[in-house]
Symmetry: D2
Subunit: 332 residues, 4 copies
């Protein structure tokens, strides 16, 4: 089968025919229907220090996928052949302290689908039974693949608690765009997007953001009840603190590549709360996400801007890096 591999340490990937692997005990094998590219995949491509620490080649990359189960190896009372399933990226061990106190998504020994082990940018993939999510057939097939990043946004907005609140979304990549959509559905009084790139601001406006800004004007300082930091830029933390209202809340989601530097005193003087989101609550967030998609309140196709064949991966990565895109789909 065709697969996108990180074959050795360093930048770049390899497109290659590889044998379809056996289905390990406790896993299912799926025929991949759609996959989608995540910002993390760019880091994997570029071989950032964060990736270098977590990824041991050779590995099939890709963690946002939807596929059809063609084989089950082990006890799986909720699954059967033919089910259309997605994968939760955080493979939890179910035995550590965090798993046992119901924080499985921040498992102390978490392994990552698609960068800690083989993922899904390939014609076939295997997924652990306990991180396999069975999809509701009313959800559009493409959306099923993008459900994992949407889940991040659902968790961000749920933790934020936006009903009746004025919300700033910093960074308008796919998770930022999704966060804005979810904030609208969950009753935010106003949702404002912030991004330096015009393409992204336009897209945000189209999908329902109330306003978009290139930079935050000083007159808006201290006016946001909630600020969602989804960009991972190092200079946005100070802006987030400035934007937040007294007693406001910041949600940290984007991971910067370097240390951040800012005035900690602002945090205290305004008595701001920072909550952070590492991923989706397992499985609370998935149920919420699924409901939003079934109801049609969130239509993920609005942010899917490009579709490529798996063999066109390099081209897709090029568009991804240009920033002139929403979510990019891969079709095996």
């Amino acid at each position: 089968m065709l697969a996108i591999l990180k074959e050795k340490k360093g930048p770049g990937v390899t497109l290659k025919e590889v044998p379809v692997s056996e289905t390990p005990k406790g896993e299912v094998k799926v025929k991949v229907i759609y996959a989608s590219i995540c910002g993390t995949d760019v880091g994997i491509y570029d071989w950032t220090p964060w990736v270098a620490e977590k990824l041991t080649p050779p590995i099939i990359i890709g963690h946002e996928v939807v596929g059809e189960i063609i084989e089950i190896n082990g006890q799986a009372p909720r699954l059967k052949k033919g089910d259309i399933v997605s994968s939760e990226t955080h493979i939890f061990d179910n035995t550590c302290y965090q798993c046992r106190i119901n924080n499985r998504h921040i498992c102390e020994n978490v392994q990552f689908f698609g960068y800690g082990r083989n993922g899904g940018f390939s014609e076939y993939a295997t997924i652990p039974i306990h991180t396999t999510w069975k999809n509701d057939s009313r959800i559009p097939l493409e959306a099923m693949s993008v459900q994992e990043p949407l889940g991040n946004s659902v968790n961000v907005i749920t933790k934020a608690g936006v009903a009746g609140k004025k919300v700033l979304i910093m960074g308008l990549g796919p998770t930022g765009l999704c966060a804005g959509m979810v904030a609208k559905v969950y009753g935010a009084s106003e949702v404002v997007g912030l991004n330096r790139r015009e393409y992204r601001r336009k897209l945000a406006k189209q999908i329902g953001f109330d306003r978009v800004l290139e930079t935050l004007p000083e007159k808006e300082y201290g006016t946001f009840d909630v600020v969602c930091e989804m960009s991972g830029n190092i200079d946005t933390i100070q802006i987030a603190l400035n934007a937040a209202r007294i007693a406001g809340k910041i949600i940290a989601f984007g991971t910067p590549k370097k240390n951040v530097e800012f005035d900690w005193g602002v945090l205290i003087n305004k008595e701001i709360t920072i909550e952070s989101v590492f991923g989706r609550r397992i499985w609370e967030t998935w149920y919420q996400t699924s409901d939003l998609l079934i109801s049609g309140k969130i239509d993920l196709r609005k942010i899917i801007t490009h579709r490529f064949k798996l063999a066109e991966f390099e081209k897709a990565m090029g568009v991804m890096k240009s920033g002139e895109c929403g979510k990019i789909m891969l079709i095996p």
Copy 2:
């Protein structure tokens, strides 16, 4: 009367005989019984940028006080002459948005007793009726003065929610020491103090900390459910993040003089929450604080290490700056 004044911009203070001022409309006049020195008073003495921004000389400094009401100018249904009262430092305006939504302690137009206007390092002082707290007579007189910083610690520990939790207190000045005592009363499973100064660690041990540390050993990384940052050092934020457990909580209280720099990614990878405390909830925290003192569960005299006459202020400030002290009392 004798008073400690910041007479002009720049370092230092002036001890001076000044006339006893009139009691403004809406205020009470008290004969000061005790006052105590706060870390902020050191900043006022040294004329730090933060102070330079907030303080317009000439001003009588000092905000931790207890006194007896000798005059009331205005409607004060809860007060009468002879009452022994303390002052809430945050003079709220009761008309801004934050006051109206029950966050009076972070009033948008807050004025500060003892650095935004005349305070209490003097024989007589006037306090707004609406920020005057009537003390319960069962509380030791000295403790009444130190109730305001204890209140900070009570709010820190209440926000932290320490029952059954392992707690690290970073910085063992009076608020750090108080935070440790409150954490013990409120059911922390273990309270560990961190300070570079041996004097402070010894004092912490005496008053009930389970353990004290000079530096945090790597083996304790990721083991604290709650980390209270009470030092205001710029390099402790990274240590706080390292110390905190996955899904742990950091309480930000100490205000550093410069920007902090740290790895924001740790925050996200561990899904840590940061809550911050600007002062005492008005009046929730005061009721809680008062209860702790009435019951005898907290004995503030254990952290009072020095007592000076008001006229010995320079000497007191010297001890304060040496760091070889707990709380320092001033007696007018």
Copy 3:
């Protein structure tokens, strides 16, 4: 001026010309523009035991009003003549424990506008300065009067936390209808209304409820994340417990006239939480309510079904008691 009075103990009211009263110290006088009838007013009319306990005649009744300030007697930094204002019904004393710990709406010595003292079913009314809410001019005038009951619903739905949740509203009087509208705006996944009266169910459907039911079928037992009890019927508590999902939440708002009886074990077996709402948070709820009306997300005119002159009060009360109505407005 014309006023609706409870002149003596017992059922009924009196329409009567009375002199316009002086404006007491600390109050404003308003020319009433609109008033609206509340379920409590029916109890006042009928002289229920609850009312008999709280109301000492003679009193001008009516607590939902909007008017224009024509006189101010006292300090009122936020108000001026010509302001269009509404009244918060709960006149708090600002000195009791609950007021001091920021629960002013449940003041220990609360007095009620329109049944603990003169209210607003009259051409002119006086309102305490500290319970006067200045309206934003973008809100439709009629809605300003209905803002107080809408506030109850906003507080109910805010406490419930409905984002992504399946919600049952029991009782489709004006507060139930409002609760449904707010639940939709704040992101409930489905809002179902329950009422025996067809008129009310039809109205609910028109204003956006997803579904309405005459009785709760057994197959829906255990399926609601949130149940809002807005009817005050004694037999609905057991139905609420049956309707709620395991780990669900019930919001108690409607006050039954007699004791309720139910199986407390269901509460425990399902680990249900019951939160209750006595009124609007002062002023958090008012800000939220105002935002919903300014934005146009809630249009209260949709539930206003009848308009009467003040002199037609008896006719209005007749319609009110028939149950074939939404909100009924009175025009002085």
Copy 4:
């Protein structure tokens, strides 16, 4: 082996020699060291309607146990032969909605150790691997058996949030007694016990309750921040509502045998919250409970008043029913 069986429907139990059963797949076999009698066991003995609904004879009863693992049948990475373990009574299925959203203790298909299937009043017992708790060896052996009811109290007090609060414990059976001990450790300002039986009040006083009452005097109405209903009496709900302060919290734990009847209006007028507890959070509560026992802050031996051989079960049940006891231990 000797076992206590409910052999057939109706009151009473049978002491009988039965063969030691095989260890089913996915379970461990333990040699029971101690067992303890729960209030539920009285209901089982008496064959109450609640029990009649859940229990299909023949079954070995008893769910509070500690034993040594002598056989493991299945994957159990955290367990090995010789481990001293206790049993979580709620056998969750790990596949229902509640299990998947991290509420395993209120599993939709929960099965009960010792009344939904064979339990532990016998010389040997088998426990599902996934509900087996491995004990810390520093905990006294007897306490390990009583850890399960203590866990209920830990969850009650944790949900209540008692730091600095005045707490009323209604019902001073073993869980009520434990709740009082935990409330003291977790920082309650005052813990008051309520029980009609002098024996129980005396025991409560000995183990650290601040005060005990036979009935609640009217002057204490409205003074408790937290009321824990641990008695299961039908007439205590109204008393709980009377006892609670405005904005107070009631924790529902005790399950009455009949419908309760009370004034729902009090709930609303005081804006009281009722939270309920069905059992221990799995495994959060167990970690907390274990910490309390390891630290010695809770010494369960203080409430163990009687010890009987398993063969003396009828005698033990007699004492249990007399109410003149704390916790009763059984020794196989």
